[in-house]
């Protein structure tokens, strides 16, 4: 059978249209880029395959790509995040959407393969989130000489793309849209910083003022979580492994401690490192009874769940996202969202206006790959500083903020891309 969405229910389509309109009203950057691209149609003649969680915000990105002249095939690349009403609304606009909410992992792969093969002449452009499609392309480059470019949005996918690029010569540009100030500053730091606190509040309803809040990791996400936790009145302790990161955290006014010291008095431990086994047996043994454990890093392995399970004599679900583990020594620990992403599970992930900026980056690269292919060389690369500045200017304009470079032409002011080390 095919995972192609066809003849969707009219009621579903209507709800999808309403959801897309709501998201669009909070996404001024994509809306503006779409209006420009609908004139110049830089993707005319292109066949684009995308694999990004099919939320209402992603739906606005898809509409932009269609308005830019592309034929579009799409899949969510995930078991549960596809919003069927959004899929329905896009399907009637001519987008070939594959998949639905509630698929098995194997079915997610089937739907992605179908999307990749949706065009008889093959895709010319790839827009990716997690490098699923780029991996498919890398495995069949000889059969896809028509490919002109690809973009990848996540840290994890960008790492994978660089690995691939080390052994394969991509004959077209593969652009990582992750390592850009306007992506990580808005999305990772402020978006995830807020949604992590939001997730902890929704899951527990706990009072944060005065709490000992331990943040493991002080990268873009960890810094955002630490800032917001402090903003809610928590007493924040930062745990990290890099000396440069530790000095940055200390000079930002945070207490820096080894986890084995911080764990002894922690009320909340939140991992945001991107590494496995941050909180392990030795730390679990030190935590005071009643401590809350949660994770906002990419993988569920940051808190070693096997170590936690080994000490657990019984568990109970005390609130929807709170599982209380009673330990063999009489203490209990509250694990949020099963150690998965607390910001996505207990809260709602990034707000529309955050996805607006993230997708604006990915959309502009994609439009550039279509309209100005000479701008990018073949092979794996990052977004250039000029586009980063363009997105920053668009965001400022949308917020109604003027700065000293507002009246100067783009590219002549100090580029935000220079601040990568910040």
């Amino acid at each position: 059978m095919s995972w192609l969405v066809s003849d969707p229910d009219e009621d579903l389509v209507q709800r999808g249209r309403a959801a897309l309109a709501l998201a669009r009203s909070q996404m001024p950057l994509l809306d503006g880029i779409q209006r420009e691209a609908a004139e110049s149609r830089p993707l005319a003649g292109h066949r684009l395959v995308g694999c990004v969680h099919l939320t209402k915000e992603t739906g606005v990105l898809v509409q932009l790509l269609v308005a830019s002249g592309a034929e579009v095939a799409w899949t969510g690349g995930d078991e549960v995040s596809t919003q069927d009403e959004v899929a329905a609304a896009l399907a009637v606009e001519g987008v070939r959407v594959f998949g639905r909410r509630g698929m098995t992992t194997a079915e997610v792969g089937e739907a992605a393969a179908e999307a990749f093969g949706a065009f008889s002449d093959g895709p010319t452009m790839i827009l990716d989130n997690g490098a699923h499609l780029i991996e498919m392309a890398a495995a069949s480059l000889d059969r896809h000489p028509q490919l002109r470019g690809a973009t990848e949005k996540t840290s994890e996918g960008s790492r994978r793309v660089r690995e691939l690029g080390a052994t394969i010569d991509f004959p077209f540009p593969v652009v990582s849209v992750n390592d850009v100030v306007t992506k990580w500053e808005v999305d990772n730091t402020y978006g995830t910083g807020q949604s992590t606190l939001d997730g902890i509040l929704r899951a527990t309803g706990m009072f944060l003022a005065g709490k000992r809040f331990v943040v493991c990791g002080f990268g873009h996400v960890g810094r955002g979580v630490a800032l917001r936790a402090r903003g809610m009145g928590a007493r924040v302790v930062v745990v990290c492994r890099s000396a440069k990161t530790a000095v940055r955290a200390r000079l930002a006014g945070f207490e820096v401690l080894p986890l084995e010291s911080a764990a002894r008095t922690a009320d909340i431990v939140c991992t945001a490192t991107g590494r496995p086994d941050v909180v392990t047996a030795e730390h679990l043994d030190l935590l005071p009874s009643g401590a809350v454990l949660c994770n906002t890093g990419h993988s569920t392995a940051e808190i070693n769940l096997a170590d936690l399970q080994a000490r657990t004599v019984s568990t109970e679900q005390v609130r929807p996202h709170v599982r209380r583990h009673r330990l063999d020594d009489g203490r209990y620990l509250d694990l949020l969202s099963g150690g998965g992403l607390v910001n996505l599970d207990a809260a709602e992930g990034n707000p529309s206006e955050v996805m607006d900026v993230t997708f604006a980056n990915q959309a502009l690269v994609t439009l550039g790959l279509g309209g100005r292919p000479d701008r990018y060389a073949a092979g794996v690369q990052d977004v250039d500083a000029a586009q980063d500045e363009d997105v920053a200017r668009r965001k400022l304009a949308a917020m109604g903020v003027r700065f000293d470079g507002s009246d100067q032409p783009a590219g002549t002011t100090r580029g935000v891309g220079e601040d990568k080390s910040a």
């Binding site: 709501l22 909070q26 402020y190 807020q194 606190l197 509040l201 005065g210 809610m232 709602e348």
Partner: protein, 417 residues
């Protein structure tokens, strides 16, 4: 004769109440103390409060102390039906509270509570106090005294006292430092932000966040909004508070000026008409407007509803009204308390202090009934110190004591330059 949605919800409610109890060490200690000393034997308490997990724990303390207790909701939208069920079934109070009930049922619930013929009135917003004085004066003879927990309610009862209408002594729990410094500032501060996030999921970082009123609640909301990365603007009518906001590093302007620049507005004035229909018309398209003051009179909601050209529910507790100027205003929780409606009322740790203060206040009223006159009774300092010390003990924090020399210095007028 109780009124709850469904008693079978009590199992779920009980789990939540126990979860909250873990974070209420001061009140939990009082439950133990009262179970032994039984200070409330023979007392009939009528309470009108938000029916939440934290209220349930205060009910536990009062019942443990021997009181006969009846409880109704102070706001139909803040009632948690599962909690109401467990208070009725497991804690043993008569409960009259159903989420989202209409106005008529709401007043039936107040009547239900008064059927207990109270000796003590525990109030939140002074609705019970004013209803008794206006409609049930026959109950007044048996009432020893009452407590009132909110700023708004205390103001109403002060006005009653000034008019000579107040017929029993009332302890204004809100005046206790252990209440307003913590509950109003940190409690309302956190749960207003929590309510806005749950209702809208908007990004606060970089937004222009207008706090209307800089009392204890306003100070807390402004502090937390800034902590979430917002650019905070304060509007005030009181010159001292406006100056305080300015020196706290916030922008101060008139409501007319703020209306045009704000992305998010929160009213915390305790007064009516803080945001008028004229202000709503000046706002940017998509501006979010909500209230964290006690009553739903701070925003011109009915005028907005009457004049809107279209109404669209975007999310739960989040409705967009289209104005004739083509712009949309997004109103949260119908202009009622956004934290209580869209989030979960105050966190247990804060209500721990508020309700411990309240419960000790009830004990004080009973012990001093013979000498207390009708009117507002000052909160004894001993209650505040008792609660604050217990909270510090729970945190494991020790503090210094004045030395003999320091004590003498403070009382000696002869030492100077």
């Amino acid at each position: 004769m109780s009124m709850v949605r469904d008693l079978s919800l009590a199992d779920v409610g009980q789990l939540k109440v126990d979860f909250a109890a873990r974070r209420m060490p001061v009140l939990s200690a009082l439950v133990e103390r009262f179970s032994e000393s039984k200070p409330f034997i023979g007392q009939r308490i009528a309470a009108c409060l938000h029916v939440t997990t934290e209220t349930a724990n205060m009910c536990r303390a009062l019942v443990a102390g021997g009181a006969e207790l009846a409880l109704c909701a102070s706001n139909p939208l803040s009632t948690k039906d599962d909690v109401a069920a467990t208070i009725q079934r497991d804690i043993g109070a008569e409960v009259f509270a159903i989420y989202g009930c209409d106005r008529e049922t709401f007043y039936q619930q107040v009547q239900g509570v008064l059927a207990i013929r109270p000796t003590i009135v525990v109030d939140d917003g002074a609705d019970l106090t004013t209803t008794i004085h206006n409609d049930y004066p026959q109950l007044l003879d048996e009432i020893i005294g009452g407590t009132e927990v909110t700023s708004t309610g205390v103001l109403r009862i002060r006005n009653m006292a000034t008019d000579g209408a107040l017929r029993y002594p009332v302890l204004p729990t809100n005046d206790a430092a252990t209440k307003h410094l913590f509950d109003n500032r940190y409690g309302t501060g956190q749960n207003t932000i929590d309510g806005i996030l749950r209702a809208t999921n908007v990004l606060l970082a970089g937004s222009v966040f207008v706090v209307v009123g800089y009392g204890w609640c306003g100070r807390g909301v402004a502090m937390r909004a800034r902590g979430m990365g917002a650019k905070v603007v304060v509007t005030e009518v009181d010159p001292i508070r406006a100056l305080e906001a300015k020196l706290d590093g916030l922008d101060v302007m008139t409501m007319d000026q703020a209306a045009a620049v704000g992305d998010i507005f929160v009213t915390v004035t305790g007064n009516r008409d803080a945001i008028t229909y004229a202000h709503l018309q000046q706002m940017k398209d998509g501006a979010v407007v909500c209230n964290s003051g006690h009553f739903d009179v701070e925003i011109a909601v009915s005028e907005l509803q009457a004049n809107a050209t279209a109404r669209r529910e975007l999310r739960p507790n989040c409705v967009e009204y289209k104005l004739s100027n083509g712009r949309g205003v997004i109103l949260l929780a119908e202009g009622r308390l956004v934290g209580q409606s869209a989030a979960e009322a105050h966190p247990a740790e804060v209500m721990d202090m508020t309700f411990a203060t309240q419960a000790l206040g009830v004990q004080y009223l009973i012990e001093n009934a013979a000498r207390l006159e009708p009117g507002i009774v000052p909160i004894p300092r001993s209650i505040e110190n008792d609660v604050a010390s217990a909270k510090l003990r729970a945190y494991g924090i020790q503090i210094d004591e004045l030395s003999a020399g320091q004590q003498q210095y403070l009382t000696d007028w002869r030492v100077g330059t």
